[in-house]
């Protein structure tokens, strides 16, 4: 189903069709996390990986996300040549990176590139929870920063599909500083008067939420995603009380004023297209000065 979406030209680092085949989970069936419904995997994939019974949104890989979002044949990947190192000599880190690469077929926990959405050129990023919980280390920080810097240079809007367990513990303080690096890149991007849309997907937490994910002009979220700064267990241990129902969900953060809108997966592409269209007219005037 995603086969035709990626062009393969030699010079570009392109996403090869073989790497998207994995989108069907191992085995024939999946069980819905929310309602327990057993779903035939082919059927799940045919419904954008949304449970047909209760509407629960399953996680998407970065490649699936990009494939579902961009126009056919329009995606060119950036920075697939950046490779993770182990700057702290942290025990067991290399193995985790290797396993993340195998799971996601990506060099790191985010896929970035240039594409079109409903005909509008954008810089796009999609994080992949299968790569160490989409935690942000040096390479993720660098790819995000480069994506914004490229967008400034080419005067393009940025769309970021976020998911993350937070900063990457294994890179210690260096990963914490990626919060500053990416946020500073967004700050610069803002000064260029360009549009940034972020989409928070399940789950978006910790250092990624507390940096570039929250800094968009428009922050969208998929339904029922976990969105929060601190982990629920840490909070429970700190405050010694039970967390209210629906705590740290998309609906909760919408009600508390932290995001702009919840958009179901089936409407995401259309919504992004509309927002891009509305801003394309404004930016033409602004950039014409």
């Amino acid at each position: 189903m995603f086969k035709d979406l990626f062009r393969s030209k030699q010079k570009y680092v392109t996403v090869k069709p073989a790497s998207v085949r994995r989108e069907i989970p191992d085995g024939m069936w999946s069980k819905c996390t929310k309602c327990g419904q057993i779903i035939y995997n082919k059927e799940l994939a045919g419904n954008l990986k949304v449970c047909h019974k209760c509407g629960f949104h399953f996680k998407l890989s970065a490649l699936e996300r990009v494939a579902l979002t961009v126009d056919a044949d329009s995606f060119v990947e950036f920075d697939s040549d950046l490779l993770t190192v182990n700057p702290l000599g942290f025990p067991g880190y290399e193995e985790k990176v290797k396993s993340g690469k195998n799971t996601t077929k990506l060099n790191e926990a985010i896929l970035t590139g240039q594409a079109r959405i409903c005909g509008f050129p954008v810089v796009i990023g999609a994080m992949d929870f299968g790569f160490m919980g989409a935690s942000m280390g040096s390479v993720v920080g660098e790819k995000v920063t480069r994506a914004f810097e490229f967008a400034i240079k080419r005067k393009l809007p940025v769309v970021m599909f976020c998911t993350s367990g937070g900063a990457r513990m294994q890179e210690g303080i260096i990963s914490l500083m990626q919060m500053v690096k990416t946020s500073a890149a967004v700050a610069r991007f803002n000064e260029a008067g360009l549009l940034y849309i972020s989409v928070l997907t399940n789950p978006t937490t910790g250092g990624v939420l507390a940096s570039f994910a929250s800094l968009a002009d428009i922050v969208l979220a998929e339904p029922e995603a976990q969105i929060g700064f601190a982990g629920p267990r840490v909070i429970e241990e700190t405050v010694h009380q039970k967390l209210p129902p629906g705590f740290q969900t998309s609906e909760f953060v919408l009600a508390h004023g932290m995001i702009d809108k919840i958009v179901e997966r089936k409407n995401m592409r259309k919504t992004l297209g509309l927002l891009l269209s509305l801003h394309s007219k404004v930016s033409e005037v602004a950039l014409g000065e």
Binding site: V85, F90, V139, G172, V180, A210
Partner: protein, 334 residues
């Protein structure tokens, strides 16, 4: 620990006590023991050097978290003149876990902001153990924007276990406010000097921790996660915090090596709480020195330099076989 003496400091504390006793005995009885006392004092000096010269990361954390460690307000009072504390975020409430205001530094007006731990149980409860809520970070940003308006440098004192992980903190957008502070501080058009005096607890520290210079006291730490939290995740055992403290490379010496901080300040007597006046003098000297280098810089280059300072942080390699990134960019056309 009630007397403030850490386990590894005990031999030294006992020796110091004996010297003190000898001095009292000598003056009470009018017996000259200066030779013995001098010998013991040399011994104490050697021991001090041995203990504080070979601290493990975990021992440094113990010192950084010491209940007698000077707090932000202690330093403010020792370093600045005429401090006027300003309160509130103009939105929800005044968060006592963050203090801030205007002060004079050798005649130069500055804005000072810092996390504030309590100095006893009662004050700790009032200050939430120095762990801010979103409104605290909002107050900090308000004061920093005020500093920008009046062209005052900003001095930030960081000593925080972390941003408060509570229900209301989440409801009021802890993540959003920290992101916002980082973003705004990255572009603040006045010099910002950050002094990490004790704990540099992750995002909670970054919320007031982005600056042109980052200075750390020699026993302060700055980490992506607490050693306890790291141990709980990694080994499902929070008691392995010592091992985690080693693995996380979170000491001032580590951060200097990674090029993240600009200077390490030695703690007089081995630990800041032993001589807070001397510690404050050291910090003041460092602030003055760095400010001298920053005040003359134009707004534009100040922000450009700050951007580059953080832009270069990150360790990775480029896979030569995949073709360079620049090449990819140059071949893209719409």
């Amino acid at each position: 620990m009630s007397n403030g003496i850490l386990e590894f400091e005990k031999p030294l504390a006992e020796l110091e006590k004996r010297i003190e006793e000898l001095k009292v005995f000598s003056s009470d009885k009018g017996i000259d023991l200066s030779g013995e006392i001098a010998t013991l004092e040399r011994k104490a000096e050697d021991l001090r050097r041995e203990i504080y010269g070979n601290l493990t990361p975990w021992q440094r954390i113990m010192i950084a978290r010491h209940p007698h460690r000077p707090t932000t307000l202690d330093y403010i009072n020792l370093i600045f003149d005429d401090f006027i504390e300003l309160h509130g975020d103009r939105c929800f409430r005044d968060d006592a876990a963050i203090v801030g205001g205007i002060a004079s530094l050798e005649g130069r007006p500055v804005t000072v902001v810092g996390t504030q731990k309590g100095r006893d149980t009662k004050e700790n409860l009032a200050r939430n153990f120095g762990m801010p809520h979103p409104e605290g970070y909002r107050k900090a940003l308000r004061l920093m924007k005020q500093a920008e308006k009046f062209r005052r440098p900003v001095i930030c004192f960081v000593d925080v276990a972390g941003a408060y992980p509570g229900i209301e903190a989440e409801e009021r957008g802890q993540a959003v406010i920290i992101a916002n502070n980082i973003c705004e501080m990255a572009r603040l058009e006045v010099p910002v000097i950050v002094v990490i005096t004790g704990e540099g607890g992750s995002g909670g520290a970054l919320g007031i921790g982005v600056g042109d210079r980052i200075i750390m006291l020699e026993n302060a730490y700055f980490s992506v996660i607490s050693p306890e939290g790291c141990a709980a995740i990694l080994w499902k055992d929070a008691s392995k915090a010592r091992e985690a403290a080693e693995a996380l490379k979170l000491t001032a010496q580590d951060l200097m090596r990674f090029g993240i901080i600009d200077e390490i300040l030695a703690e007089p007597g081995g630990a800041a709480h032993k001589d807070r006046e001397a510690m404050a003098r050291v910090i003041k000297g460092a602030i003055l020195k760095h400010l001298d280098h920053l005040v003359g810089v134009s707004r534009k280059s100040l922000i450009e330099q700050r951007y580059r300072k953080f832009r270069k942080i990150g360790e990775f390699i480029v896979d030569q076989q995949a073709g360079t990134s620049e090449e990819i960019r140059d071949t893209i056309s719409l």
